[in-house]
């Protein structure tokens, strides 16, 4: 069939569609992180509990499984909405490129299926299966969660590094779906996302137990509840920083407009400084702390490395600089702050096998949860807004992909209202879960483990 094209949507409708997609994705990504990271933490605690008979570990496994049930349900539906929105909001993208980026989604469909099936078994068959078999049913949940993240993010990587197809008169031909899926951005972006998921889940859960310890609950249950997820997240952090560095270097090579926006760099050249902080005003980076030659060094390990600036990008093809620059700065700052927090615990633990005595450590751990989420969101904004005005980099503009039907803003209002209610309800239910007796997950509340 011919090319599907239509009149452009109004600017207001384009903004509405982008906002709706941004809100739904930004919301789902948090839940997805818990979906990827939390099963591994839970299954590990569960395994320790069975292995050692330690009651604290068993209690933790029960509690986390219960929370996981709620988070997965909400994550599953908020993820479904995204597959609807791909068509509802961006039919231009799907009509032209749906077949090119479809394969990873088909694979993700199966991964998600496996995850849902085994999560159902893991949560509901706690008392129906022998303990060892039951524990093993948690493993497919962990693997499928990570695989889902890989598949979905590889589709996003393709939007940044589109390939695996030919164009003839605007029509896609000669599709090579595997080449599209394994594009140059895929290894970096997927690993960056999966590690981020473990950081969000790890610091997020540790934050809950740090809050409990600040209220004076310093028993073994709370200590493990803090230490186990915190350790995983803290161990992941330096690797995450290294992968992020590699991803930025890939941008210098393959998507220079995004790196230029990240740095607010106007002029192409060598000996480029790194801009820390600052604002991009009147077409220039102002009030930034400049570290001489640092960007050139980071990109090519030599001060003479040439880095492309925005001057090489046509004005109409430049991403908005401030949103990208500030998001990136915030993400990096949080990443290093979390690294320091992890180092603090490591040093104290190495010297006297205990948590730091000061309450400051607990306060900072409480903050680390929201901070990790903020780093996640700002990282996502960097990669998504940094790709603008393209939806498929250098191939299709976001404005050409949006649904031309009138009245998209009405959908936005309804969806925003739904997400507000959903957020309030999710937080409320999770807070209520905290102080409650738990029994086998999803079998009601029992007497076994009083709070």
């Amino acid at each position: 069939m011919g090319v599907l094209a239509a009149d452009a949507a109004t600017p207001a409708d384009l903004v509405a569609a982008r906002t709706q997609m941004g809100v739904s994705l930004g919301w789902h990504i948090i839940l997805a992180c818990f979906g990827v990271g939390m099963p591994a933490l839970t299954v590990f605690a569960h395994w320790r509990g069975i292995r050692t008979g330690d009651e604290a570990y068993q209690r933790i496994a029960h509690r986390w499984a219960k929370a996981m049930g709620v988070l997965f349900a909400v994550g599953a539906v908020s993820g479904t909405i995204l597959s609807f929105e791909m068509g509802l909001l961006w039919p231009g993208l799907m009509a032209t490129y749906g077949q090119v980026l479809g394969l990873p989604f088909a694979l993700e469909g199966f991964a998600f299926f496996v995850e849902a099936i085994f999560l159902g078994i893991y949560l509901y068959a706690w008392d129906r299966l022998p303990p060892r078999v039951h524990l093993l049913t948690g493993l497919p949940v962990c693997i499928a969660g990570i695989a889902s993240a890989f598949f979905v993010v590889s589709a996003n990587a393709w939007m940044n590094q589109p390939r695996g197809f030919d164009l003839a008169d605007g029509k896609v031909t000669g599709v090579r779906p595997w080449a599209a899926m394994f594009n140059p951005a895929t290894p970096w972006q997927t690993v960056h996302m999966i590690l981020a998921a473990f950081m969000v889940a790890g610091f997020g859960i540790a934050a809950v137990y740090a809050a409990g310890m600040l209220r004076g609950r310093r028993d073994r249950y709370h200590r493990i509840g803090l230490l186990l997820p915190f350790t995983v997240a803290a161990v992941v952090t330096p690797f995450q920083i290294a992968v992020g560095d590699g991803l930025a270097r890939l941008l210098a090579d393959r998507q220079p407009a995004k790196l230029a926006a990240i740095e607010g760099l106007n002029e192409t050249g060598s000996h480029v400084p790194l801009s820390v902080g600052g604002l991009y005003l009147d077409g220039e980076m102002r009030y930034a702390l400049r570290i001489p030659d640092a960007l050139s060094l980071l990109v090519g390990y030599r001060p003479g490395t040439v880095v492309q600036g925005l001057d090489r990008v046509p004005v109409a093809d430049r991403p908005p600089v401030n949103a990208v620059h500030l998001s990136f700065q915030l993400m990096v700052a949080i990443g290093f702050a979390l690294l320091l927090l992890g180092c603090w615990l490591a040093v104290v633990w190495w010297r006297r096998r205990d948590l730091p005595r000061t309450r400051w450590f607990l306060w900072l751990t409480v903050l680390s949860g929201p901070a990790a989420v903020l780093a996640l969101e700002t990282g996502w904004i960097t990669t998504e807004v940094g790709r603008q005005p393209w939806i498929v980099w250098q191939h299709q503009r976001t404005a050409d992909a949006v649904n031309p039907a009138p009245g998209l803003w009405a959908g936005l209002i309804v969806v925003l209202a739904v997400y507000v209610v959903l957020t309030v309800a999710t937080v409320y239910v999770l807070l209520r879960l905290r102080g409650r007796r738990v029994s086998a997950p999803q079998e009601g509340w029992g007497q076994e483990y009083p709070p």
């Binding site: 599907l4 049930g69 479904t80 694979l107 299926f113």
Partner: protein, 340 residues
Amino acid sequence: MTAAQWLLLFSWAGLTLYALFGGADFGGGFWDALAGGARRGRAQRELIEHSIGPVWEANHVWLIFVLVMFWTCFPGVFASVCSTLYIPLTLVAIGIIARGAAFAFRKASTELWQQRLFGGAFALSSVLTPFFLGTIAGGVASGRVPYGLAAGGIVTSWWNATSLMAGALAVGATAYLAAVYLTADARRGGDPGLADVFRRRGLWTAAVTGVVAILGIFVVRVDAPSLYTGLTGRALPLVVVSGVAGLASMVALAFRRYALARVTAALAVAAVLWGWAVAQYPVMLPPGVTVPEAAADPAVLHATLGTVIAGMVLLVPSLLWLYVLFQRPAPGPSSKTTDR
């Protein structure tokens, strides 16, 4: 058969499974809404929750499977349907959010007012979501969604006689499937009284849904003549199978042969979906866009087909285990720790 035909077959099979399993979950919500006051309806609600709980998320994935299959293998058709029917699709999406979240929240809440609030949201969205899914099917089946981005009427494409009839049929079918499934679940749970409640309801809904379906044939005759031609022509055997299976399930229910009732009820619903497909094939969307014309690049189709077959090898045993595990009675009371 071509790769595109195979993939269409798998997609339609996925849609059928969504209707039979996901649909029954929606129907569970329908009966949850009608279960009566908090005290009186408690036994019914517990049965529904018990039956849906472990499986609804997996059942629900069939919908995602169908969406992804269509956008990968028939991207133009997917984009056309989504852009024209974005209003009911947005409503379906919201219904899915409200339903899944409310169900999980109700499970995690203990106080009566919370359970009522979340239960209300669960029940309402369980009825509205299949209704709007039905209107979408009606819009496509009656040829109101042309090929092209937002090329059809954004209201008339789903607010018309065929769509409304299909919406009503969808609500009826889901309620009917749920009632039939729940009779067997209630009997296995050791509550023949409850089984009888759902048996009576199953008989009533079967009758009402049957009447809607028969009226629907007249609606289609006036409103969507080409669909009518297909349904009374090539698809006639499937229409007859649906009617006969529906009647058989009523007889089986009347004689308390619940397992037989399940199979025949599922067959009756599945035959409607396949009847629609056969009646319309090979046209996917007007004006006469057929399967080979709408299909994606052959390389994509082959990769997807390989993925689907490999995925099924993983999926089918897992799904069977899930269903078998929870169709067995729960272990003895020693490990039951329910305390609400």
